[in-house]
């Protein structure tokens, strides 16, 4: 585990604090470490984006914090919610946090809803569990919530089953269910990945609106840098079970410092201007049980030097609130960005 500088001391604005979070999966023959000490904090009302490719641990981080990984996962480190510990407090206490103070929505809303229960009943169930509301009051509140998430004719839709609704509508139901517990934090794990472009825009707009009204904080997990850039205050980039860079969103997209972040941005096609040849990151993401020594990105990195493969680079600040885990971050900082040096096609 890497010792990390505590950049900002915890304040009363701090909602969730994760320090040195590790997760090991017991695979029988071997134990694979998938998270190597995650440090992440969420302030009240803040939107933090978590980006990275599949398998980098962005979802596992939150599943671990909420105790949803099952008995084969060994979770280490510290996670607190409003100063209270979250890890190792037992299922009973944790289940009051889950859905109550921290709600989570997932990529495939249709798979998350119970196919044989009417959606009204599913929202009412969440209201009963987290706020103890039952009967006609619960139905009235469920109606209000469904109306809130933009479901037209909510009173009638409450009697429908998930298969009668579209994917976008089901995601709205999921959001309504998540809002039922009036959470302080909503963890949205790829909430729009399975949806069409115009529906994605609707859902992201809805999440923005809900946040403005309730002031809840949000973690937006996504592989889409565009979605993150447009919706987040702060962004953390993950690679192979580590946060390799984090910064305020504008800063990150303007001055990306880690070669991996730069690579990701250079790999995105543009929407305007002349078409350039995309700069791809060579190679593949290594498997968690087969990580290279030192910096996990070193074998794919154009700026790699000998010392990169020796030790895991420490996390350091290159500007206020901008942390990078790259031994060469300072030197690369003023080099022309990957995008401007792109070869025109």
């Amino acid at each position: 585990m890497v010792a990390l500088p505590d950049v900002e001391p915890a304040t009363d604005r701090r909602l969730v604090d994760i320090r040195g979070l590790t997760v090991d999966f017991d695979m029988g023959a071997r134990v694979s470490r998938v998270l190597h000490g995650i440090d992440l904090s969420i302030d009240k009302g803040e939107v933090v984006g978590l980006v990275g490719e599949s398998g980098c641990g962005k979802s596992v981080t939150w599943l671990a914090v909420l105790g949803l990984l099952g008995p084969r996962a060994h979770v280490g480190g510290i996670a607190t919610l409003g100063g209270e510990p979250l890890l190792g407090i037992g299922d009973e206490r944790l289940s009051r946090v889950r859905g109550g103070r921290i709600a989570m929505i997932f990529q495939d809303p249709t798979a998350c809803l119970n196919p044989v229960k009417r959606i009204g009943a599913q929202v009412c169930e969440a209201l009963h569990l987290h706020r103890g509301i039952v009967g006609e009051r619960a139905r009235a509140e469920a109606r209000r919530l469904l109306d809130r998430v933009g479901i037209a004719a909510a009173a009638q839709r409450m009697n429908e089953y998930p298969h009668q609704m579209s994917g976008g509508m089901n995601q709205r139901v999921m959001i309504a269910t998540a809002l039922a517990g009036e959470p302080d934090l909503l963890v949205a794990d790829e909430p729009t990945t399975a949806l069409d472009a115009t529906i994605q825009a609707q859902i992201l707009d809805l999440l923005r609106e809900v946040r403005r009204d309730t002031g809840m904080a949000m973690v937006l997990i996504s592989h889409d840098l565009g979605v993150v850039a447009e919706n987040c205050d702060r962004v953390a980039v993950m690679y192979c079970g580590r946060v390799v860079e984090q910064a305020p969103a504008e800063r990150l997209f303007e001055k990306p410092s880690h070669p991996y972040t730069r690579g990701l941005l250079a790999a995105l096609p543009d929407l305007a201007g002349p078409t350039r040849r995309l700069e791809s990151i060579p190679g593949n993401v290594p498997e968690p049980w087969n990580l290279p020594t030192g910096c996990a990105f070193a074998p794919r990195c154009g700026a790699c030097r000998d010392f990169c493969t020796g030790t895991v680079p420490p996390y350091r600040a290159v500007a206020a609130g901008h942390l990078v885990a790259c031994a060469r971050a300072g030197f690369l900082h003023h080099a022309p960005s990957a995008q401007s040096s792109a070869v025109a096609r």
Binding site: G226, L271, R277
Partner: protein, 328 residues
């Protein structure tokens, strides 16, 4: 010069039953309803649209894999039959298809090298030694390492499998490859590798692509021409530059504005459409887009707009095109 592939008024309707089991009334689902386009040699046509708009069905019709309800497909100026006879089998060699799910497209029990060679065996091209040599050449051309020749599909990553599928599609020297969401299942850094590969292969082998994707950024990157589909019809068609810079159809405008961009400039105006696309069983009368369109007038509710040409070869199916451009 005749285009490589020309499609005129292509339609595919399915008879379906409305909810109600055996007693439900039958209805007609118009998956593709009058689509026309042409692809020149070595060119790329991008087909975009949301799920269920008929883009994959259009590609299958264009490749002769599915009989059309009406309309014609001309390949090299000759009508393409969908009867599975000798002529059809010969045409398979020239028209290939690549899918999103590579693990499903590959045989899990056959080494990848042999799978790439299989089309040559099927079409009886060259001697065994020539086939093997050709396969090995292509193997390196798509960026696979020679020692992977005897590997099995599950031993490769998603990006590598997509290379295998592309090599297999290319080995019999096709004139056209239809790529149905070829990179949607891949991670960002791997997507760029495959997009660049598609570009290089086109330069090297002169193959044309029919490129289907819901990702407009990717379509802009690879296409010479883009067609936007909505509920079985093409609503706008033009060069990627023109289409993305100045979309005419209100639907295209919403699509383009809905693309999230990773640039610090957040001042972009976003058009958010109301509601979901209607079911293709209940296509609205008039312009199919009118219930979600902010600009729809009385005429849009009655009369279906035809795809008409604008200056510069741009084509739009909207009654208001031209007038609305000034307002946007």
């Amino acid at each position: 010069m005749t285009p490589l592939l020309e499609v005129r008024g292509l339609a595919r309707h399915y008879r379906v039953r409305r909810p109600g089991g055996l007693w439900g009334r039958t209805a007609v689902l118009k998956a593709v309803d009058g689509v026309s386009f042409a692809i020149g040699r070595g060119r790329t046509l991008g087909l975009v649209g949301e799920s269920g708009c008929g883009k994959s069905t259009a590609a299958r019709l264009a490749l002769g894999l599915l009989p059309a309800t009406s309309g014609d497909v001309l390949f090299d100026g000759q009508p393409l039959s969908t009867r599975q006879d000798a002529a059809w089998r010969a045409s398979r060699r020239k028209l290939q298809l690549v899918f999103q799910d590579t693990l499903g497209a590959l045989d899990r029990r056959l080494p990848i090298g042999l799978q790439i060679m299989e089309p040559l065996d099927i079409h009886g091209i060259g001697t065994r030694a020539e086939r093997l040599e050709k396969t090995k050449d292509l193997f390196t051309a798509v960026g696979l390492l020679p020692h992977m020749f005897d590997r099995y599909p599950h031993e490769l990553s998603g990006g590598q499998r997509q290379r295998v599928v592309l090599a297999r599609a290319l080995v019999a020297q096709p004139a056209l490859i239809a790529c149905d969401e070829p990179i949607s299942a891949l991670d960002v850094s791997i997507q760029a590798q495959v997009i660049n590969l598609l570009h290089d292969l086109r330069e090297q082998f002169g193959v044309a692509y029919l490129f289907i994707s819901h990702d407009l950024r990717v379509v802009r990157q690879v296409s010479d021409e883009v067609a936007v589909m909505y509920l079985g019809r093409i609503v706008e068609q033009g060069t990627p530059d023109r289409l993305f810079r100045q979309p005419e159809h209100p639907y295209t405008r919403a699509l383009v504005s809905a693309i999230p961009v990773a640039t610090p400039n957040r001042a972009r105006q976003r058009i958010i459409l109301k509601g979901d696309p209607p079911s293709p069983v209940d296509v609205p009368a008039g312009c199919a887009f009118h219930p979600r369109c902010a600009l729809a007038g009385p005429r849009c509710r009655v009369e279906t707009p035809a795809l008409r040409s604008m200056p510069g070869g741009h084509r739009v199916a909207c009654h208001l095109a031209g007038e609305t451009a000034a307002a946007a």
